[in-house]
């Protein structure tokens, strides 16, 4: 039993890549720590041990959107859908209500519905971050409209802190990478991206909070926006550099063309993976380090686990601080790289070709 438990824990620790593992149900004890489950998206907000708030389900199937208040409500009311876990097994009923098992909604015949637009925990925290950005910067802009900061100096910590960040992004990120002619066009986008990512990262540090940037879907959307921006605003010069690199012999041009073409897509892909991996790994690392206490408990007994727990707790604290730092750094890195890619795409080389 103990060996099996240990094995499952170790497997879970190794599984940072998130490859779905076929875990053996017979070995699954109640004490399992689901590492990946802490990082992936859910159809509920986890406020354990206080509560679990199920989120609304919106499922598009057969030409109409089916809206339910929660997964439980869907399972009890819908004739069309059921939980993927209840296709073969008997549903779990609590207080006369069917409780969700996997939260994976399927048709009663076991096939997936057309589109699942359900609200998820990552989406909720994405919205929270968006709303927070909105609630911070709309009042701030009203202050500027009134003339504080426009004709006078900024007043108060609130305005000063956020103005510093805004000016930093404008001058150190946008201006440095895009150049003085076009940087103001892209500064709003960079500001939006920076503060969204920053606030999403910060929510991962809060109790019960989830870092939406630890979801590859969210980072993919953000990277997609950077990609779209670079493609939409790309200059003739940029395309010339992609398809017919100037200043090199013709055979080299043919070699460079696919390289540059692949480069177009690897840039946003790297953006997406970098942010996601950094944010997801922080959480996985914390869970893994804390999990060591339980591994020690299984290996050497509870006494040793209690005795060494302070080491792991301190290490967790350290990782937590690193995470706080990484929250800033990754928001900065994503923004500066976006600015860099945009700057490369919109650069007007003009007559001079220093390549």
């Amino acid at each position: 039993m103990m060996k099996q438990l240990l094995r499952v824990l170790l497997i879970n620790l190794v599984l940072v890549t998130g490859v779905a593992v076929v875990s053996n149900a017979e070995s699954g004890g109640e004490n399992r720590i689901d590492l990946i489950g802490k990082v992936v998206d859910h159809y509920y907000l986890d406020f354990k041990p206080l509560a679990t708030v199920e989120l609304p389900r919106l499922i598009y199937d057969n030409g109409r959107v089916h809206v339910y208040r929660s997964t439980t409500s869907l399972l009890n009311k819908s004739e069309r859908f059921t939980d993927a876990g209840y296709i073969d097994a008997e549903p779990v009923i609590q207080n006369g209500k069917i409780k969700p098992a996997t939260y994976q909604v399927v048709r009663t015949d076991g096939t997936s519905p057309q589109f699942d637009f359900s609200i998820t925990s990552h989406l909720v925290f994405f919205w929270v971050a968006a709303l927070l950005t909105f609630l911070i910067f709309i009042p701030l802009s009203l202050k500027y409209r009134k003339g504080i900061g426009r004709s006078s100096e900024p007043r108060g910590a609130f305005q000063n802190i956020f103005e510093t960040l805004v000016v930093f992004i404008r001058d150190e990120i946008a201006l440095q990478n895009i150049g003085p002619q076009k940087y103001l066009t892209f500064t709003p986008y960079l500001l939006t991206v920076f503060f969204f990512i920053l606030f999403m990262n910060f929510f991962g540090l809060m109790p019960w909070g989830v870092s939406s940037t630890a979801d590859i879907t969210v980072t993919a959307v953000l990277a997609l926006f950077t990609f779209a921006t670079t493609q939409i605003f790309a200059t003739r010069d940029h395309w010339k550099h992609v398809f017919w690199f100037p200043g090199v012999p013709v055979p080299i041009k043919f070699i460079l063309m696919p390289v540059e073409l692949i480069g177009l897509f690897t840039k946003p892909f790297a953006l997406c993976i970098r942010l996601f991996a950094n944010m997801a790994s922080g959480k996985i690392l914390i869970m893994a380090i804390l999990g060591t206490i339980f591994i020690f408990s299984d290996l050497f007994g509870p006494g040793v686990a209690y005795g060494t727990s302070w080491v792991w707790v301190f290490l967790t604290l350290f990782v937590y601080l690193i995470k706080a730092l990484v929250s800033f750094i990754q928001a900065y890195v994503f923004t500066i790289l976006s600015a860099l890619f945009i700057g490369l795409a919109v650069a007007d080389h003009g007559e001079e070709h220093a390549h």
């Binding site: 890549t17 359900s118 004709s151």
Partner: protein, 173 residues
Amino acid sequence: MNSVFAQGLLDVDFGLFFWVLITFLLFLFLLTKFAWKPILNALGEREKAIKDSLEAAEKAKEEAMRISKENEKALKKAESISQKMRKEAIEEAEALRADRAEKAKIEAEKLLDQARNTIEQEKKKALLELRAEVSKMAIEAASRILDEEIDEKRNKKIVDRYIKELNQATADS
């Protein structure tokens, strides 16, 4: 199907993708319109005002410097002019004085010459007169001698008388 790993870490969820895309677009638009643009405009305006006033201050400083330099130059010039004028005045006065002294000297010389001339002339005149007188007297004396050549004794008496008279005339004159 594993219940725990219902969702893989690397799965891209279409629903989430859709919502995030829509939300991001919406907030990008709203924030750009109502937050970033006003803030960036205000910042730009403020920076421009600061830059302008700095430039204006710099310009005013330069202007003040220029004016003070000009003033100094003018002062220097005025001073040099006044010095020159003083020098000139002194020179002029000196020249005038020398001139006047020269003139006075010449005048005095002239006066002296004149006086000398006058004296000479008077002397000549006097001599001429004296000569005439003497000759006249001699003639008179001679004629008297001729007239009254009676005796030597008397002659001598006449001459003596004449000389006495002459002496008397000289003492009278």
